[in-house]
Amino acid sequence: MVEVSTPVRWLLRAVAIGYVFFLVAWPVSLVAVRTFEDGTSTFLHIFSDEQTVAALQLTVMVALWAVIINLVFGVTISILLVRYQFPGKRVLSALIDLPLSVSPVVVGLALLLVYSGRTGWIGPSIEEAGWQVIYDSPGMIMATCFVALPLVIREVVPVLTEIGDDQEQAARSLGASARQTFLRITLPSIKWAVIYGVVLSLARSLGEFGAVKIVSGNVTGRTQTATLIVEARYQNFEQGTAYAVAFLLAFISIACLIVVAFLRPSHES
């Protein structure tokens, strides 16, 4: 490593820490400060508010479904991308990154165009069959899946590439079926990448706002998620509740990341 003189080193540290502090740490900590300004009463109050509790339950339900769906498809697509050659592979790989670059609002509008019960492309036929997609939980789960789609895949693909398929071939030659090879060899090898991807997806899914706002219709008590209630309460001059719910969301996400950082064995990076 190149030696850097002491003043420069201190300067670099100050810049990095200052940047993160003013952009992330300070604003987020102020949310916590506001939440607990009058002790724990504001925070505990949200759990007795029927609408807030419903919103939190809905958020958890949507996030869990989105994470499960992205977990299954994410691992499958990762294996497909790394282990197989097929025409259109690069297009698929590029498409998977799309949710990172496209605004969630665009995602919401796009889903509306296809699945809207009145004006959508196949929405009316689905609605006739008795399924409500838009303005209901299926649409919200889809929107959340869309925005969190790349997270599992981008964690798993590099690990799969790095371990190569030697171990899988060895397992096959020792008599393991494709399923046994996946469960006994591939999955344990990518375990930490999958867990990390799931945590990132969960954090992202809990906090999704733009896409969900458009496809949910934001109906209080029915299709209002935690992020939507934060906005609604804030605009309604109920800052206390808004801060408390915002704090809860941030707390869950940070807690997830910290737990995984501690669980992850240090030699596996």
Binding site: A170, S173, Q180
Partner: protein, 325 residues
């Protein structure tokens, strides 16, 4: 015959890896597939194991047609160049893998793993992770893992290629002894002719997707089928339009033997006990001759001296067909 390869062809795009290969590998023997890198020998081994499929042709193992059989049904042990250890399992678990897949009783698995670890001298490492082993130990573990399922054939793909020279040498002697002990039909791929000559009962020389020659190490060395086999197994020079080994040329300072080719020593290089002489013959041929230091001193060859060259009695001589690769 244990493994029968019949008219196997394999292409990767435009590249022909195997071109209509037919070869039989004998039961109970240690066979080497020898050839330069990219010559198709690893591809052939992988096709025998079922890790690759041939475009055409058939493979049969112990009399059963295995051409369409997936890898896990061939009962073949495979050892990879880079060990392919299961990183998240202990040494004992690695070795037990094939047995656990076959749902053998626990006591039997434990006993068999114990026995195999003893065989490969890794008993004291049973509970370590592969990352705590050296390269040579990992490869021995991989070998035990492959042997655990009692395969009908054991296939090794450049098994010592990733190891340093000293460990390589130790392991190949050890492989020979191991084979004499367990006696399973074994095929290994190597590009190292010394390794093949030292370890194998039989050698199959493969180049550019074709079998050049099949035979015992002595047959290949003494009666090479062509220039390629000859040059691949050791140093080659040419004299009077034939290829032969540099140490199989008699050199004298007077025309005592009939048919001697006259020339002038252009360069003399001493390496330890041997002396390498470059001789430019009057026909314009550049011949390399190897003789011992004592012999060179006794006959008094020096740079610039005129000498006569003749093939030694009993030398392996091959008519020169094409440029030596």
């Amino acid at each position: 015959m244990s493994i029968d390869v019949h008219h196997v062809t394999k292409r990767f795009g435009d590249f022909v890896a195997l071109d209509d290969v037919t070869v039989s590998l004998p039961t109970g023997q240690l066979t080497a597939l020898l050839g330069p890198s990219g010559g198709g020998k690893s591809t052939l081994l992988r096709i025998i194991a079922g890790l690759d499929t041939a475009d055409s042709g058939t493979i049969s193992i112990e009399g059963t047609d295995a051409t369409r059989l997936p890898a896990q049904k061939r009962n073949v042990g495979f050892v990879f160049q880079h060990y392919a250890v299961f990183k998240h399992m202990t040494v004992a678990k690695n070795v037990a893998f094939g047995l656990e897949i076959r749902r053998r009783p626990k006591a039997e698995v434990v006993a068999r793993v114990d026995e195999l670890l003893k065989l490969v001298h890794l008993s004291q490492f049973a509970h370590r992770l592969p990352s705590q082993l050296s390269g040579g130990q990992r490869q021995r573990m991989a070998l035990a893992r492959a042997l655990a399922v009692e395969p009908s054939v054991l296939l090794l793909d450049e098994p010592f290629g990733a190891l340093d020279a000293k460990v390589r040498k130790e392991l190949r002697e050890w492989l020979r002894r191991l084979h004499d002990e367990v006696n399973v039909t074994t095929v290994f791929v190597t590009h190292d002719q010394e390794e093949a000559l030292e370890v194998a009962d039989e050698i199959v020389v493969i180049n550019e997707g074709r079998v050049e020659q099949v035979g015992t190490p002595d047959q290949l060395y003494d009666e090479p089928a062509n220039d390629f086999v000859m040059s691949f197994l050791g140093d080659v020079t040419s004299l009077g339009g034939s290829s032969l080994r540099p140490h199989d040329i008699e050199i004298s300072t007077s025309p005592v033997l009939a048919g001697g080719v006259e020339g002038e020593v252009s360069r003399l290089l001493r390496i330890g006990f041997e002396v390498r002489a470059n001789v430019l013959t009057i026909d314009g041929e550049e011949v390399t001759v190897v003789l011992t230091r004592a012999h060179a001193r006794a006959i008094g060859v020096e740079e610039g001296s005129t000498v006569w060259l003749t093939p030694a009695v009993g030398a392996a001589v091959v008519p020169r067909m094409k440029a030596v690769v």
